[in-house]
């Protein structure tokens, strides 16, 4: 991990977006089950607007499960159910009136393994628009440039927008997936270990991008890499065995955690 030796970018108070709703996403008494197995126990947390919130914890602790509940991706799995509620901007995402399709269209998601479609770079970016029925060329062109600029990829690919996305490098592919996720101007960006398959240089680029993107988006990021959490998140939530052990300001969690379990984990004593 050469990356950990670099000076961590400062995530100080002035770097933070001051105005914003403190409970942009609000999780209330949330329990989640895969069949009979309970994966999340009584989660309560508020995720603030236009900040980066990191979910950390050992494998199987439920952090990805929680992330995938924010856009109801878990519903693609058979036999899952939940109790409690998740609200975004005060509105329950599980309400009968909520179309899961429109929920997912207003929340961008970036996955652990970059997964661009085997299509051109251009078609990857405009996918969300195409499935919403937008096909006017000027709209699509505008979206491609805006999204690729937003993902800091425009200058690298502007001359080959119509070439296959599979010809990009690993880091470029992941930034393309970020461009694709923000194409529809979502409010929330969910990232499930977005750098775990990237080399250190590509990781730095994506982390810089994350700090850029929080100007516009509320970002929730699952990460195994604690240096990453310190480098790019404002708040950190530590999960263990499906429970939220501690949730606080990132600096506090890493410098002065209140819970013994958190301290053991971040100092590498287990997990």
């Amino acid at each position: 991990m050469q990356i950990s030796n670099e000076a961590p970018a400062k995530n100080t108070a002035e770097d933070r977006n001051p105005i914003g709703r403190p409970d942009f996403i609000s999780v209330k008494d949330f329990n989640f089950f895969y069949g009979k197995k309970q994966a999340l126990h009584e989660i309560n947390m508020d995720i603030p607007e236009r900040q980066v919130t990191a979910l950390i914890g050992p494998s199987g602790c439920g952090k990805s499960t929680l992330l995938r509940n924010f856009n109801r991706m878990n519903e693609l799995i058979d036999g899952v159910h939940h109790t409690g509620d998740i609200r975004i901007l005060g509105k329950s995402i599980f309400d009968k009136g909520v179309e899961v399709i429109s929920l997912r269209r207003s929340i961008g998601m970036v996955f652990q393994k970059s997964n661009p479609f085997p299509k051109s770079i251009y078609e990857n970016v405009v996918f969300a628009l195409r499935i919403s029925g937008i096909s006017k060329k000027s709209d699509l062109d505008e979206c491609v440039e805006r999204s690729l600029r937003g993902a800091a990829l425009w200058n690298e690919v502007k001359d080959r927008l119509h070439e296959s996305a599979l010809g990009l490098s690993g880091g470029q592919m992941q930034r393309l997936c970020i461009a694709r996720a923000i194409a529809n101007r979502p409010k929330v960006l969910l990232m499930d270990e977005p750098c775990s398959a990237l080399d250190p240089i590509a990781t730095v680029k994506v982390e810089e991008l994350i700090r850029e993107l929080k100007q516009q988006f509320t970002i929730v990021i699952v990460t195994h890499n604690m240096q990453q959490a310190t480098r790019c998140s404002d708040n950190t939530a530590f999960f263990y065995l499906g429970k939220l052990v501690e949730y606080a300001d990132t600096q506090k969690i890493f410098s002065n955690p209140s819970e013994k379990q958190t301290e053991d984990y971040i100092t590498g004593r287990f997990g």
Binding site: M73, R104, R105, F111, N115, F117, P118, F127, I131, N184
Partner: protein, 296 residues
């Protein structure tokens, strides 16, 4: 690790008992490679000799008349088998028009919509059983269902038999093609708010398309050469078909008929028909491959 260490030591030491073992091992290695190469070359022998034989015996009669004229009567010379070529194309075409949508849509259902349901499991099992059914049974089935009810041998009945024959191949290869699509693509599409239909139509099918087409081509190649299902259903005809509802000639039945008569011209014509059949299937395969590989 120990053995590697001792081997590298042998390299510098020169002679040792270990070294002779390595020499023996590399000899065995070379011997096995030799056997594998020889056997791979041998597998090409049947195909090459068939093509050689077809060209040698089929080429002499190949000319435009073959495609435009009707089969000669017993003992007569000249003529062609234009009606049989047309019949094969029509019956394989109609059979494909029935079996391809049915097979591909079923595969989409059992793989994309409800992979673990009872219905899907039943469809999968039935399709696998159906691949094992001899083609002649497909002919008997189409005979009972179509010929008996309509009262006549027809291209429809032949198409039906070929459709039944092609269906399981298309369904199962298509399912494999869909299974080969990375689930990460589906996840990405759902994550962007695509409906299931959009995910299938815009992401899954385009990616699986070349593999699906390979399966369809396999089915076509097999159906085009089948004789048994057509003898009971389309029968044969010396004439141009006026409709699809009458006995229809096909290349495979023509080959079967002409190769069993005692007239040299007819036997020579059977060889030419075989050559044309193989050429058709091969060309269709190559065309399909180039079109789809260009697409990717």
């Amino acid at each position: 690790m120990d053995s590697i260490a001792s081997h590298s030591l042998d390299f510098f030491d020169g002679e040792s008992s270990e070294n002779t073992k390595i020499v023996a091992r590399s000899l065995t290695n070379r011997l096995l490679s030799g056997i594998c190469i020889t056997l791979s070359l041998l597998t090409m022998v049947p195909l090459i000799s068939i093509i050689f034989l077809l060209l040698k015996k089929g080429l002499p009669l190949l000319g435009t008349a073959i495609f435009t004229e009707l089969p000669p009567a017993a003992g007569m010379s000249g003529g062609g088998f234009g009606n049989a070529i047309l019949g094969t194309l029509a019956m394989v075409g109609i059979g494909l028009a029935i079996s391809a949508p049915a097979g591909i849509l079923s595969a989409i259902y059992i793989n994309e919509y409800s992979p673990t349901s009872r219905l899907s499991q039943a469809v999968r099992l039935v399709a696998k059983l159906l691949t094992g059914i001899p083609s002649i049974i497909c002919g008997v089935f189409a005979f009972t269902v179509v010929v008996m009810t309509t009262g006549t041998f027809s291209a429809y009945a032949g198409s039906m038999a070929l459709a039944v024959l092609m269906l399981p191949t298309i369904l199962l290869t298509c399912e494999q093609a869909l299974l080969g699509v990375q689930s990460a693509y589906r996840e990405a599409a759902y994550g962007l708010g695509a409906t299931r239909f959009q995910t299938i139509a815009r992401v899954v099918l385009p990616d699986a398309f070349p593999a699906i087409m390979t399966g369809v081509m396999l089915a076509v190649a097999r159906a085009a050469g089948e004789t048994a299902p057509l003898i009971f259903t389309a029968l044969f005809s010396q004439f141009w078909a006026k409709s699809l509802n009458e006995p229809t000639a096909s290349l495979s039945v023509l080959i079967y008929n002409f190769s069993t008569v005692p007239f040299p011209h007819q036997i020579a014509m059977a060889w030419t028909a075989s050559l044309v059949l193989v050429a058709f299937v091969t060309l269709a395969n190559i065309a399909a491959q180039t079109i789809f590989s260009r697409k990717n």
